[in-house]
């Protein structure tokens, strides 16, 4: 069935279907973690909470944090 769909493509304008949820899930976890870490360091580190001591991270991304709408100082 799937073979005949793939080889003949009865309607050439048919778009490929949705990606199964099970195939998205592992990548979703990986991408979500990666994105949250990045957002945390630009948006909140050395402001409300601090993993690295000092103010260097906050000072370096200072303008971006303001301009991208995150709370600062």
């Amino acid at each position: 069935m799937s073979q005949s769909l793939a080889s003949h493509a009865p309607n050439s304008t048919t778009l490929p279907g949705a990606i199964p949820l099970g195939a998205v899930a592992p990548w979703a976890i990986f991408g979500l973690l990666l994105s949250l870490v990045l957002i945390y360091f630009v948006g909140a580190e050395q402001g409300a909470t601090s993993l690295i001591s000092g103010h260097m991270v906050h000072e370096f991304v200072h303008d971006g944090r303001h301009l991208m709408g995150f709370p600062c100082h």
Binding site: I19, W27, L34, V42, P71
Partner: protein
């Protein structure tokens, strides 16, 4: 499939971030510079010593700004490509390019516009350092509320569209999202810490530039990602037709 889309989302986010950086550097930095002079003048009047400069203003407004926007661009690009992977073929029968635009528009409203309406972006000198804990907390809470309301509206949209048709069902789902967000935002406190003497035009210009930078980031991300996603999703069809023409 999702992995390849995720990689393209990251690339689209990085390229879009470079454009957003140029926009922010041109239109955002002047207001930030004004706000910092205001802050310095206010501190000098109060007789406070100037704050030590750990990172020079030049570095903050160039490499610092670029780094921050590029990191966020990659993050939003990743989230956007995952949203795309889930939405494609489910939200509507749209082409990959049109799906990309729709997902980015929803992402912009949910992750940028709604949080910014409740807690507008502020330039330096606006904001009490003592309340940074509360402000950070409620900012991420409004984002979470916005995401939850969007998920509810998306789930409700399917039966609504089946009952009322695409046009009316979509409108009702949109109204549902607005109603939910408008109601839920009352559970969070309002914060207004703009100093009385802070120039209104600087505040307005800064907020315009902030929303503009983010709008440019999301829209260009979608336009860059769309054709790349189309290549990934339609690749098997293309290669088979290619083989057939060769054969």
């Amino acid at each position: 499939m999702t992995g390849r889309l995720l990689a393209r989302g990251l690339i689209a986010g990085l390229v879009a971030a470079c454009l957003a950086f140029l926009f922010g550097r041109l239109f955002g930095e002047p207001s930030i510079a004004h706000a910092i002079s205001f802050e310095e003048a206010r501190d000098a009047l109060a007789g406070e010593p100037p704050e030590p400069e750990l990172v020079s203003r030049t570095v903050q407004s160039t490499w610092g700004l670029l780094t921050a926007i590029v990191m966020l661009g990659a993050a939003y690009g990743g989230l956007f490509s995952l949203g795309f992977s889930l939405a494609y073929g489910r939200i509507a029968r749209l082409t990959p390019r049109a799906t990309a635009l729709l997902v980015a528009a929803i992402g912009f409203v949910v992750l940028v516009l709604v949080p910014d309406l409740k807690y507008p972006p502020n330039p330096p000198a606006v904001g009490n350092p003592d309340t940074i804990g509360l402000r950070t907390e409620v900012y991420f809470e409004i984002i979470l509320i916005s995401i939850c309301c969007a998920v509810i509206a998306c789930l409700a949209s399917r039966p609504l569209i089946q009952k009322l048709g695409t046009w009316n069902g979509t409108i009702i789902a949109g109204v549902l999202f607005i109603a939910l967000v408008s109601g839920m935002q009352f559970t969070l406190p309002d914060i207004s810490e703009v100093p009385d003497t802070f120039p209104a035009t600087v505040l307005w210009r800064f907020r315009e530039a902030s929303i503009g930078t983010q709008m440019l980031l999301w829209s260009s991300m979608a336009l860059i990602f769309g054709p790349m996603a189309e290549k990934v999703l339609c690749a098997p069809q293309r290669s088979s037709s290619h083989a057939r023409t060769l054969g």
